[in-house]
């Protein structure tokens, strides 16, 4: 997504990225970034919360209008939860047992195969 934002911007289309992974988007480097400190998958606001979604959109639009320079990040003031402990779980190896790590490795390899098949089919469809 960040690469697409950069490409559009380079070619005259102003962009704003809405996302939840602050370090990744900023590491790539984008013109404007609305950061929501929410679990990945909620870049446009809290589920079942139209007000949160409206606030998030309005912040993105204001950023589009008013960012003074590239790499402008605005962090949404909305909080996912008063308890920040959810932040400790994502891909946190310290919280997984050896059995769970083995299971996840197996599952990751399986999913890679599945995704490869989809990609190969997509490529075959394109060249036919």
């Amino acid at each position: 997504m960040s690469l697409a934002a950069r490409h559009l911007e380079e070619n005259g289309i102003a962009t704003v990225v809405m996302g939840c992974a602050k370090d990744i988007v900023e590491f790539v480097g984008v013109p404007r970034f609305l950061f929501s400190d929410f679990p990945l998958g909620n870049a446009a606001g809290r589920p079942r919360d139209p007000q949160s979604q409206a606030i998030t959109m309005e912040l993105a639009l204001r950023l589009l209008e008013a960012a003074p320079a590239a790499r402008t990040t605005v962090q949404s003031p909305l909080r996912w939860s008063e308890d920040p402990s959810w932040k400790l779980d994502y891909s946190n190896i310290e919280r997984l047992s050896p059995d769970e790590i083995r299971r996840r490795r197996k599952e990751f390899d399986r999913q890679k195969e599945v995704a490869r098949d989809v990609r190969d089919q997509s490529a075959a469809a394109r060249s036919s």
Binding site: G19, L40, G41, A44, A69, P84, S91, V118
Partner: protein
């Protein structure tokens, strides 16, 4: 009094943005993959200010979500990661109508969210409301789906030019890109 004790009003140390890059590196290393993923990284960042008021701008929406495919297994809400639901070509949809797009093919935080409400990752209805309220000029006729390809080469050489061509064809002045 310790510096983290009561009195200063400091938040707990862990209450900061999640360090995803470090987490993901450590995670795949522990799973046995020796070569860490290398994220794209630039020192220079382009910038193009809007040249007209937002209320006159045509705005495009770009998403990483995938159209729901009933024959591709569980896509949620609450679905485990589903590689079969991935897509590898830019797609577009009619912005005037609602769409069933899912995020089961992405690395969302499945411990703390279930992908039950597409408005939390695909704000097309919200963007249409902004157009109706004259907050933006209009939503361009199509939204676009961006593949989450792990190959930078494919993203840069194939997907980015394709997204640009489609945004230009629709006369977009600005684009909102919603990551997952």
């Amino acid at each position: 009094m310790s510096q983290t004790g009561p009195g200063f009003g400091f938040a707990p140390e862990a209450d900061a943005p999640v360090p995803y890059m470090q987490r993901i590196r450590d995670y795949y290393l522990a799973l046995g993959y020796a070569t860490p993923y290398r994220w794209a990284h630039y020192a220079e960042v382009p910038f193009r200010a809007l040249t007209r008021p937002l209320a006159e701008c045509r705005v495009a929406l770009i998403t990483t979500a995938a159209p729901y495919q009933p024959d591709k297994g569980d896509q949620g809400p609450g679905a485990p990661y589903n590689g079969a639901a991935k897509f590898y070509r830019v797609y577009s949809g009619d912005s005037r109508i609602d769409h069933d797009v899912r995020i089961s093919h992405l690395g969302i935080d499945r411990a703390h969210t279930t992908a039950e409400d597409s408005n939390s990752w695909f704000p097309l209805p919200q963007l249409r409301r902004c157009a109706a309220a004259a907050r933006i000029g209009e939503v361009v006729p199509r939204f676009h789906g961006a593949p989450t390809n792990r190959s930078h080469r494919t993203t840069l050489d194939q997907d980015c030019p394709e997204l640009l061509a489609r945004c230009r064809a629709d006369g977009a002045d600005a684009a909102l890109l919603v990551a997952n």
